[in-house]
Symmetry: C2
Subunit: 333 residues, 2 copies
């Protein structure tokens, strides 16, 4: 698959060559062992040129108007002198390689803009896989000079948590359904969001959007803010009428200024890197443990016994762990 | 330490002998390897006699009036013909063995009642340790015939999540501070609670409690319920004036009836057991990995490099995993 050297890819990325950036991303996303080794070398080479962007995560259920919002938001950010990369994650889309055409159609004007780059992240089946590739794709985009990177997710499964753990600012979009119908908000989102955006605040929905806005603000006031330097903000916007979009971007700007001022950005990214290391270690350790033939042979029997209450989980865990050679030598605590 | 045979302990527990139950619990909580082996045998022996209780988790920040509520609530539950075991977890209390006297003083009347049993769980330093012992202590209490087991936590760190993962019903207590001051609610709690109780709804605080009650109800309506068969309920109570306590217990009763009816209880417990097995496996796998000498030697250097952005977490993870003999043989994916 790879027909370029690491140096060619590196130079291409640094020069902002879209075609080579795309090649490099495909390499990163490849599951072939040979590609992975090269990908790691390339990433190591670009590493010093990463980390300079503002990383923004955006989530929202299907139908909330994410594409329309991101198109409008992205164009506004570009008009302020930035370059924008949009990485879209849809864990529900299969391993077809994502819906490139779909994304380009649904963000038509943005995808045509020379300061924007839109790239879907295929899901690789597992969510860990998504996050893994997406983080690294983000690094490539930063090395290519994009100074705002938007990661979009529809929020299936754990994808919001994954995305929140790799961005600086997390934004949640929601429909202008006030009252009981706001139940669409997944609870965890309330914890993660730095900015909440009520979409489609136009036409007949203006009043509803206003009501939803007030309710959200009331709810947020009741909850303990996740950090001491920022309390979550709410906006009602209309991408259709370009209303409120610039306010959201100004708020992002303030967020980043405040984060810089309090030294939070660097601390948060260091913590994210450490967390990333540990979650990789844990995932792979777990994966290899469960794939270790003696464990794989017994797991489902043991699990069934635990589920039926025939054996205590503590005892079952010890039985399975004893199957590992290196582990049983060492510690018995 | 152990001067009783497993059979003696088993018979004592089944006969409801408090002194032998306490001995057995100390055995479970012991960190000595020899004790742990005996403890597992004892647990295996009592296992068929467990699972018959209603397991209720109660959380609330210090000062919210947990002891007063649990005393009042426990006595009410006993008046309805039940027997109640209260296990208290306070991760902030050191390994002194818990604050037995403290708990007995703060729930004086309940601790004197022949149908109640109050036992603090020492924290063992780690939260995993708390949960580990507490689950097993709960099983012993069930084998001893208690048909309502209350697990209380002040909710430091992850303890609420741990407790929520071992009970059938999770209850959160909060002060009658309306508006901005309700910020005391940890956000995650909103996701976990089946019943929310506003305490101290008496004297001058009656109006405030009423306001807090309405606000909580509004907030809960905005959030997606965690299960389809139950939407969280809110109560304002006064333990001092015994107001609302019986309503909370009736609500618990309804919860259990509904859960039984929908077959949710058995399913949830099976899932909890499976989850317990997996979290034990993961914790111990992780612990032994990080204690494995070659890994322990290099970890902090690698971590620092990751935090400083000098090496990619992916590469760092591979380096560390390569140190494991059994793991590198097998799979390279």
């Amino acid at each position: 698959m790879i027909t370029y050297s690491i140096d060619e890819l590196f130079d291409g990325i640094r020069a902002g060559n879209r075609r080579l950036l795309a090649k490099a991303i495909s390499l990163i996303e490849s599951e072939r062992e040979a590609d992975r080794v090269i990908a790691q070398d390339l990433l190591t080479k670009v590493l010093p040129f990463t980390g300079k962007s503002q990383r923004i995560g955006i989530t929202g259920a299907p139908g909330v108007g994410k594409s329309t919002f991101i198109e409008s938001f992205g164009l506004h950010v570009i008009s302020k002198g930035h370059t924008v990369a949009v990485l879209t994650i849809d864990p529900s889309s299969a391993r077809s390689g994502g819906s490139i055409l779909g994304d380009k159609t649904r963000m038509h004007e943005l995808s045509q803009n020379s300061k924007a780059y839109i790239r879907p992240s295929p899901s690789h089946g597992t969510l860990g896989g998504v996050a893994h590739a997406t983080r690294e794709v983000m690094l490539l985009c930063e090395a290519a000079g994009f100074d705002v990177v938007i990661i979009e997710t529809v929020g299936v499964g754990q994808s919001e948590t994954e995305v929140a753990s790799m961005v600086d600012l997390f934004m949640a979009l929601m429909l202008p359904n006030a009252g009981d119908e706001l139940q669409g908000i997944k609870r965890g989102i309330m914890e993660m969001g730095d900015i909440f955006v009520i979409t489609k605040a136009d036409g007949e929905q203006v009043n509803q959007a206003q009501l939803a806005f007030q309710q959200m603000r009331a709810v947020l006031r009741l909850l303990r803010p996740k950090s001491s330097h920022w309390s979550p903000k709410v906006f009602a916007v209309s991408a259709l009428e370009s209303k409120g979009i610039s306010d959201v971007w100004e708020c992002c700007d303030t967020f980043f200024t405040e984060s810089e001022k309090h030294g939070v950005l660097a601390t948060q990214r260091a913590a994210q890197n450490k967390h990333w290391l540990h979650s990789l270690l844990e995932n792979r350790l777990r994966q290899r443990f469960f794939e270790f033939p003696p464990v794989a042979d017994q797991l489902s029997t043991v699990e069934q016994a635990v589920i039926k209450g025939e054996i205590l989980p503590t005892l079952a865990a010890e039985k399975l762990l004893e199957l590992l050679p290196f582990i049983s030598i060492n510690t018995t605590r």
